[in-house]
Symmetry: C2
Subunit: 351 residues, 2 copies
Amino acid sequence: MSQMVRIALDAMGGDHGPAVVVAGAELALARHPESEFLFFGNTALIEPLIAERPALKSASRCVHAEVAVRMEDKPSQALRYGRRRSSMWLAIEAVKKREADMVVSAGNTGALMAMSKFELKTLAGIERPAIAALWPTLRGESIVLDLGASIGADAEHLVDLAVMGAAMARILFGLERPTVGLLNIGVEEVKGLEPVREAGRILREAQRPDLDYVGFVEGDDIGKGTVDVVVTEGFAGNIALKTAEGTARQIAEYLRDAMNRSLAARIGYLFARSAFAQLRERMDPRRFNGGVFLGLNGIVIKSHGGTDAEGFAAAIELGYGIVRDELLAKITAALGRAEPEPRCALGGAAV
Amino acid sequence: MSQMVRIALDAMGGDHGPAVVVAGAELALARHPESEFLFFGNTALIEPLIAERPALKSASRCVHAEVAVRMEDKPSQALRYGRRRSSMWLAIEAVKKREADMVVSAGNTGALMAMSKFELKTLAGIERPAIAALWPTLRGESIVLDLGASIGADAEHLVDLAVMGAAMARILFGLERPTVGLLNIGVEEVKGLEPVREAGRILREAQRPDLDYVGFVEGDDIGKGTVDVVVTEGFAGNIALKTAEGTARQIAEYLRDAMNRSLAARIGYLFARSAFAQLRERMDPRRFNGGVFLGLNGIVIKSHGGTDAEGFAAAIELGYGIVRDELLAKITAALGRAEPEPRCALGGAAV
């Protein structure tokens, strides 16, 4: 496959702005040479950083944006001052105009979702986009969605999430018929919220060829990797994600503390150094950085705002894999609705 | 303080029944000699186990129950066959009759809640009881509720949870004015579910003397120990708890795996053995076993069904601390409603 993947980057997003975005793009380019980058932001800041990196320079273009969306603003505020002139808006617009295949931003999540919905619109029949991400498990990786884009969900929305998540799993994990579970507070059919039970009934009866619905799963099934796709409404999904992150940090802290308590432990640590390095790598949140906004007419990747170049590169690569395998066309087909325009179509608005 | 704490035990509950319940009671008695136990269940199974333990024997009484509630049954089924004759029912009834100060069961959670509500009734103004538990944090311990007793919550219910959780924190942590946070998907006031925001407004404006409301907290704040009491609706609370348990098990597995990968790592493990033992103890879920049903006219403790004697003892001890400090009277006073009868009153039904 020789076609280039064109990546729009909101260079001003995140806690560290262009420094991390440019360095992250350089790392991603080294791993995927068929990439082209479109940086949006303050060119006075971005261009010198790109100039230092010859390989990146020859694969990049810079577009000036006079405004950067602030991390702490409400979506409505960001839309007011950032419309048509912020780096975030312009980067999304590049996807809309088919000048880019995807956009990555480490900026304000709410603003990114609002602008993405505004510019790209949702897929036919999808009212509310979702955020999906890879979750490390004892069996490898699973996809969990929604991680907080929408709060509350009816049965139909949960079914849409199942279908979109399964399409993502088919692409990223190379599975024919990924297993899907609905997150609930018990595995019995009588348990939990009515929309969850109703979605379970719909999925069970549908016997879809594109996903294997296995029933309800509980919070501890996520880490076990019981299913390829865990479907939940955004409030519970976000709380699950943050709780897992908090628990991982807490245990890492306990471990550090234990290894510093005695001389014997410090000696032991030295011997087991490479084992600890391996553990650290396995638990490294940067490897799993990047949430995909699903349900939009375009691919939008949200990177964690506080990540470094390595983490930002992971977010780019997540999008790269999705674009390469034409996730959007597969989701649209799975939803049984109109096909989106092919991604190579040039010019013209998507909506 | 010389008064005895009288503990009713559902000896047939849990995956291991009397073996764990009796051994757990023996451990708890050794730590708290002012305990008296009332075992309910199949005396043919229980009495021989007690007879082997002289200290326990002199502090125990056994009451035969012909039926044991099955772990997999729905609450309605359990009520049908277990009413008035199951070990669970009779143990709860001992609290109702003031023959015991608390009841501990490792049995079917739904059945335990249904029977507890049926027999003990809820406190005035409380419609739905909650499950509260201790959660280990980087700062020590916090109380998290509701962990799954009720699904969905309006603002009033969340405020009641805050008040009940704070009363528990005052007793168990010895705090004057525990800090309380509402679990949400962002700390900004505009974020999240409407009942959560409304509960936040009520708590902020109330400026209660018995709790210090600090605002919204996120999933990762639980493990950090940002607040003494984390309040959430039961669906999200249960998912947070199970997700944290799953993450802890996953990391323990990673760690075990890493320490077995090479000879150097295994040598390191030997040196750091006591550090690992300390870590294991800190992460030991048995230490935090036991959920308290809050909002009932009586103290009911739910132990994990799969725990061992050590874990069951921890559940008993949790209840012990609560009874000693008269949690119920404090909750009732904090809710500003009628006082319950003092726990030493003998005979007569509570409702």
